[in-house]
């Protein structure tokens, strides 16, 4: 099977510090993957590179069937190509209503001129209502999103990601600050989503990763230390030494 995202041999240095060191990583079009690793292992930098925020010093990032070079695109073009990103801290537009937040994220033409003359069709309104329902915010559509609770903001952001209809979802510590019930809901959603698209979850919480029941990539000092099932990687002595043993 061909890969959706293929990262090969990337390295990036910040002021002499090697954040990513000859890292290679691939993920298929419908796959759930967890990335774990200690602080400073390069997890966030890896996401920054894939989403275009940081340019690597060397290496390649290829995307999709056409093997498009993502390094040549800027953040917005990469997002348009189908890469969605969920930040650790929920970032929604607090000043605007839940419906406006979702409407903005909805997959549509992003050019200023088109957006200026864009009018929501009935199908778009229905989609927003359906998305709100999916993330449990049906009653909050007209509320300013700044009024939502922390957990609800997390959900709104997930709803916005779904509205974008990405082919690859990068999710940064989704379980942070969530209650047990919310975590279970999140796990179920991520597993469900990975049936139709690629989902990469960066997580510290081992219990959460175990529940995802997926392939795990362990990062250490900017490169891949081990890859496989959770049981496989946790049995690896090097992994125990650098990460689990602490």
């Amino acid at each position: 099977m061909s890969q959706l995202l293929e990262v090969s041999g990337i390295s990036v240095t910040f002021d002499g510090f090697r954040a990513i060191n000859n890292l290679s990583f691939t993920i298929g079009p419908a796959e759930l993957r967890a990335i774990i690793g200690p602080n400073g292992a390069g997890k966030t930098t890896f996401m920054d590179i894939v989403t275009g925020k940081t340019k690597p010093d060397e290496g390649k990032v290829l995307w999709g069937e056409m093997s498009q070079n993502l390094l040549k695109l800027n953040e917005s073009k990469i997002a348009q190509a189908g890469v969605g990103r969920k930040f650790q801290r929920p970032t929604v537009f607090e000043d605007q209503s839940v419906a406006d937040n979702l409407m903005m994220a909805l997959k549509a033409d992003r050019a200023p001129w088109k957006v200026l003359f864009w009018k929501p069709r009935q199908a778009d309104r229905d989609r927003v209502v359906a998305l709100a329902q999916q993330v449990g915010l049906s009653d909050a559509l007209d509320r300013p999103s700044g009024e939502l609770s922390h957990g609800q903001k997390q959900w709104l952001e997930i709803g916005m990601l779904l509205a974008q209809e990405p082919r690859l979802l990068l999710v940064d510590e989704p379980a942070a600050g969530m209650t047990l019930a919310e975590r279970e809901q999140t796990t179920a959603l991520l597993v469900e989503l990975a049936k139709t698209r690629a989902v990469v979850v960066v997580e510290h919480d081992m219990e959460f990763v175990r529940r995802l029941n997926c392939r795990v990539t362990v990062l250490h000092e900017g490169s891949v230390l081990a890859e496989g099932s959770l049981d496989h990687v946790t049995a690896n002595p090097r992994v125990i030494e650098v990460y689990l043993g602490r």
Binding site: T51, K53, N74, E75, S76, K77, A79, Q80, G84, R85, F87, T91, F93, E94, D95, Q96, D100, M103, M104, A105, R110, A111, P112, W113, V115, L116, W118, K119, P120, M160, Q164
Partner: protein, 391 residues
């Protein structure tokens, strides 16, 4: 459910009604068309104020909604004024030259030389500068009112936004650009008469027989129309998804980028649109002011613009209009010598000198105590009334 634009945006209806009523009342009280209670010079002041409200709207779109604190929009305002001023001065001088020419018909070259002599004698130039090439044509100069500031904004904005210059650095860059333009225009060889500027702009060619009393009311109407249309246009711009995106850029531009929107294109679009609106406001303002010189483009003017919008209330279009109208009219009153001086015994507060101090203080106070400005006060009162009704 389908709703009309007006029913979805009741503030537009209220605004247009107030503006129409204001224009009607002023017309009825004018010297030319009514009782004459309001002097022609007062009408000009009010007409100019409407133009300032229009540029304040533009400032609100770029600062209040998009979060770009441009401190250079008065440069576009001034350029708009210069572009229309060139035609006003050229055509008017041409009329004078022709009436003085006597019996012998003049060749076009002779006419041009005579006009050049009249306009540029003061800076010692005998050749018509290149930039005046189209000055004899009203349609051409009207097009330049939009094109010159528009293209300048496009180039400046493209360079600045492409390099991702943001925040206070962008503000400084716009100030520097404004200062550079102002200093350039101060030079005699800029082709725009240096520090003399352009004058006699209140005399509209071909309208000598009408008289200033009527012309001033016409310009008031024109300014009110432009302000009304500008308000409707910008209200439409900020009320749809485009408005959502630019407010998103103001609050968290990285997040907007990851949604797939090209933040730079949006900024460039808004920067250029507001520059053009500022230029149109300037083109309506200076025929009422009668004179334009490079001092009008000085960096401080653009800072005042930000102060008006801050006092009126950022992020609310009517706030910007109220702020510009209120502060500029109060400013006219204080600096016009009409405000009574305050004698403290040991020191006399002369408002002509102390007005800027008062304005600066109110800016600081508004920023600290009422960041929503006058508009915030109005929505707060509206909220109180709603609560009262609910009880």
């Amino acid at each position: 459910m389908k709703q009309g634009f007006i029913s979805k945006n009741p503030n537009v209806l209220i605004f247009i009604s107030c503006l129409a009523l204001f224009t009607l009342v002023i017309t009825v009280l004018s010297e030319a068309y009514g009782t004459g209670l309001i002097s022609t010079s007062m009408i000009k002041t009010l007409g100019k104020t409407l133009c300032l409200c229009l540029i304040a709207l533009a400032m609100d779109l770029i600062w209040g909604f998009t979060g770009i604190l441009s401190l250079g929009h008065f440069a576009f305002f001034g350029l708009g004024g210069y572009m229309i001023g060139m035609w006003l001065m050229y055509a008017r001088t041409q009329d004078i030259v022709l009436t003085q020419s006597g019996a012998l018909p003049m060749t076009p070259q002779e006419i041009q030389d005579a006009v050049t002599n009249q306009i540029f004698g003061v800076v010692g130039t005998s050749e018509l500068p290149m930039v005046w090439h189209f000055a004899g044509s009203l349609p051409a100069q009207l097009a330049l009112v939009v094109l010159v500031p528009g293209i300048l904004a496009l180039i400046f904005g493209w360079l600045a936004f492409k390099s991702r210059v943001t925040g206070v650095y962008l503000s400084i860059l716009t100030q520097a650009g404004t200062l550079a333009l102002s200093l350039y225009l101060f030079q005699n060889d800029s082709g725009l008469r240096g520090n003399n500027g352009l004058s006699g702009l209140q005399n509209i060619p071909g309208l000598d027989s009408v008289g200033q009393a009527a012309v001033s009311v016409w310009f008031l109407w024109g300014s009110a129309l432009a302000l009304g249309l500008g308000y409707m246009l910008l209200n439409w711009v900020v009320s749809g998804k485009f408005g959502s995106v630019i407010r998103g850029i103001r609050d968290d531009e990285a997040r907007v980028r990851f949604l797939g929107y090209s933040v730079e294109s949006y900024k460039l679009f808004v920067f250029t649109l507001t520059a053009v609106i500022a230029a149109i406001a300037g083109a309506l303002y200076y025929p009422q002011a009668g004179i334009i010189n490079p001092a009008e483009i000085a960096p401080i003017a653009s800072i005042y613009l930000a102060v008006w919008v801050a006092i009126g209330g950022r992020g609310k279009l009517y706030g910007a209009v109220l702020g510009a109208a209120f502060v500029s009219l109060v400013s006219t009153w204080f600096t016009g010598g009409k405000a009574p001086d305050i004698n403290l015994g040991f020191y006399t507060v002369k408002w002509v000198d102390w007005w800027s101090v008062l304005l600066g203080l109110s800016f600081v106070l508004v920023t600290l105590l009422a960041p929503q400005g006058i508009a915030g006060l109005i929505s707060w009162l509206g909220g109180l009334r709603k609560k009262e009704i609910q009880k």
